[in-house]
């Protein structure tokens, strides 16, 4: 990298700027570079102007840093460790499984011993396992990925909470509690462990291994199935009800309709937020506004009730909370005024 002292004799400012040895002197000086360049300047003092000019630019190239919080550093690490643990366990059980089929008779005695150990181990595991709960929350506008103890993943939409026991028993029920909205990718375990999402006190989703979106907010409850099969349980005074969903089907009970209704749908519509997009396909305005309120914590008031009849088509990146409102005002010629999280939406006026 370093050149002969004469090599720099006819260098222009630009050439100095591009030279790595010169850059090194300005940015990470050490004794060696310092000596070299001082020596050089003694020999070519008329080049002081060029050197100063080049230095002054390079010195100024200080860029802003995005610093992560400790919370995010720890959360990401916890997710990584959880996912890796599951992976390692599966790897282990896969390899021990092979040994047993190959040598099952010759090693029967060892196998019996191993089983005893395993039972003791499992008992100890159950004993040690305490009822501590793990909880994940998302802020407004935020989407998080949570890895569950069994390796299943959950994408948690904005303004949502997911709770589950810190440890799951290998044979027992896999249970989580959701407030808000989440997309589940549930792993099917070899022993067909049931996976239950508790939504309200009286509703829950039960699966073995599948992909689906669950929604539970003030506005209502909804489950949309992308693949696999789910059972939706509704507990009623008048008797419990079970509804089975096939891929592309959803069940919901929103605002006015108090009862649950099953219908066919396009599941991707309900999981666009995973890609951090808000997507509306022919959605009534009140629902669009409800989504904005849920996602960003806005409180939206509509001054002109005739607006509520409109239906909306469109999509927008989730990061920018103003985009949808701006899009609406552009498309329909509406105005919106905003103070903090209070938004007033009004028609064009004339």
């Amino acid at each position: 990298m370093k050149k002969e002292i004469q090599a720099y004799e006819h260098y222009t400012v630009t050439e100095f700027l591009e030279d790595e040895y010169f850059q090194q002197w300005v940015r990470q000086p050490d004794q060696e570079t310092d000596e070299f360049w001082h020596e050089w300047l003694k020999k070519y003092p008329h080049k002081l102007g060029e050197i100063t000019e080049a230095r002054s630019l390079l010195e100024r190239l200080q860029f802003q840093t995005d610093t992560p919080s400790d919370e995010s550093r720890n959360r990401v690490w916890q997710n990584i460790v959880a996912a890796n643990q599951v992976f390692d366990q599966q790897l282990e059980s896969a390899s021990t499984g092979k040994v047993i089929t190959l040598y099952s008779f010759r090693y029967l005695r060892q196998l019996a011993a191993a089983v005893v150990l395993l039972v003791i181990g499992a008992a100890g595991y159950l004993f040690l396992q305490n009822s501590t709960q793990q909880q994940y929350d998302t802020a407004f506008g935020e989407v998080k990925t949570v890895v569950l103890p069994d390796g299943s993943t959950v994408k948690l939409n904005a303004n949502s909470t997911l709770r589950f026991p810190a440890k799951w028993t290998p044979a027992g029920l896999r249970e989580v509690w959701l407030e808000g909205e989440a997309y589940f990718s549930v792993k099917h375990t070899q022993n067909h462990q049931r996976f239950v999402v508790h939504l309200t006190d009286s509703t829950q989703v039960e699966v073995l291994g599948t992909k689906f979106t669950a929604f539970q907010r003030k506005r209502g409850t909804r489950v949309v199935l992308a693949s696999g099969k789910v059972k939706f349980d509704i507990e009623r005074v008048t008797g419990n009800r079970e509804v089975y969903l096939k891929p592309g089907e959803m069940i919901e009970s929103m605002e006015k309709s108090s009862d649950f209704a099953k219908k066919a749908t396009d599941p991707t519509q309900f999981s666009a937020w995973i890609e951090r997009k808000l997507v509306f396909h022919n959605v009534p305005l009140p629902e669009v506004l409800a989504v904005l309120e849920e996602t960003y914590g806005m409180q939206i008031t509509v001054a002109d009730s005739s607006l509520l009849q409109k239906r909306v088509w469109g999509s927008a990146p989730m990061e920018d909370e103003g985009v949808v409102l701006k899009g609406l005002s552009k498309t329909f010629g509406w105005r919106f005024t905003r103070k903090g999280n209070q938004v007033l939406l009004s028609g064009s006026g004339k």
């Binding site: 190239l61 990401v76 890796n84 890609e275 951090r276 997009k277």
Partner: protein, 207 residues
């Protein structure tokens, strides 16, 4: 690279080999050493912080799960930077393909901002230079900005940059050279102004 740096690189490679053999502490050391830098780099491509976190998470999970297949990289830093960059680009493009966005998407745009003047000397000249440089920085292409970041923030060599962003060394050199030229030109005007000002001041003194 001086001796101290060589030693550091050796220790890092040793640590990497330990990680590949399943040493969780070695793995954790890699995470602790690079999380902040990867986070900073990733956040230059998108304003979505949780997306960057997701990508770093993916990167480390993949590292662990494929640890036996990895070759020992020549430089751990460059390897991690390049991997994060690929994961991030894939996620951002797949996101774009699935849905047409309503407004122009700013993702993949490399956001490079000068940090505020270190010395808070309120000299007009300094402020003016800072402004000029900021303006010039905005004129650069995404790639030029990224190359500048890798060169002057991360201190990578031309060769290392070429590996991270997958172009030739010659191309990298040109990229940085052109960027520096734009920045230099923006300051040149000021240099000229100052010189002119000095000459103007000096003239009345000459009889």
């Amino acid at each position: 690279m001086d001796k101290q740096e060589l030693h550091k690189a050796d220790v890092e490679i040793e640590n990497w080999i330990a990680f590949q053999q399943g040493d969780q502490r070695a793995y954790s050391r890699i995470y602790q050493a690079y999380f902040t830098r990867l986070y900073n780099y990733g956040n230059k491509f998108t304003s979505d912080k949780s997306l960057v976190e997701d990508c770093i998470q993916d990167l480390f999970i993949r590292l662990w799960q494929n640890r036996s297949q990895h070759v020992v990289p020549a430089s751990v830093r460059n390897y991690l930077f390049k991997s994060l960059r690929n994961i991030l680009f894939n996620k951002i493009t797949s996101r774009k393909e699935t849905l047409a966005s309503m407004e122009e998407d700013n993702d993949m745009a490399f956001q490079l901002v000068l940090s505020p003047e270190m010395d808070i000397i309120q000299v007009h000249d300094l402020e003016e230079r800072h402004r000029q440089l900021t303006r010039a920085l905005e004129e650069l292409t995404q790639r030029q900005k990224e190359a500048l970041f890798l060169k002057f923030y991360e201190g990578l060599s031309y060769e290392e940059i070429s590996q991270v962003i997958s172009i030739t060394v010659k191309g990298t050199y040109k990229l940085v050279a052109r960027a520096l030229e734009v920045l230099h030109n923006s300051l040149k005007k000021i240099f000229l102004l100052i010189n002119f000002f000095l000459v103007w001041l000096a003239t009345p003194l000459i009889p």
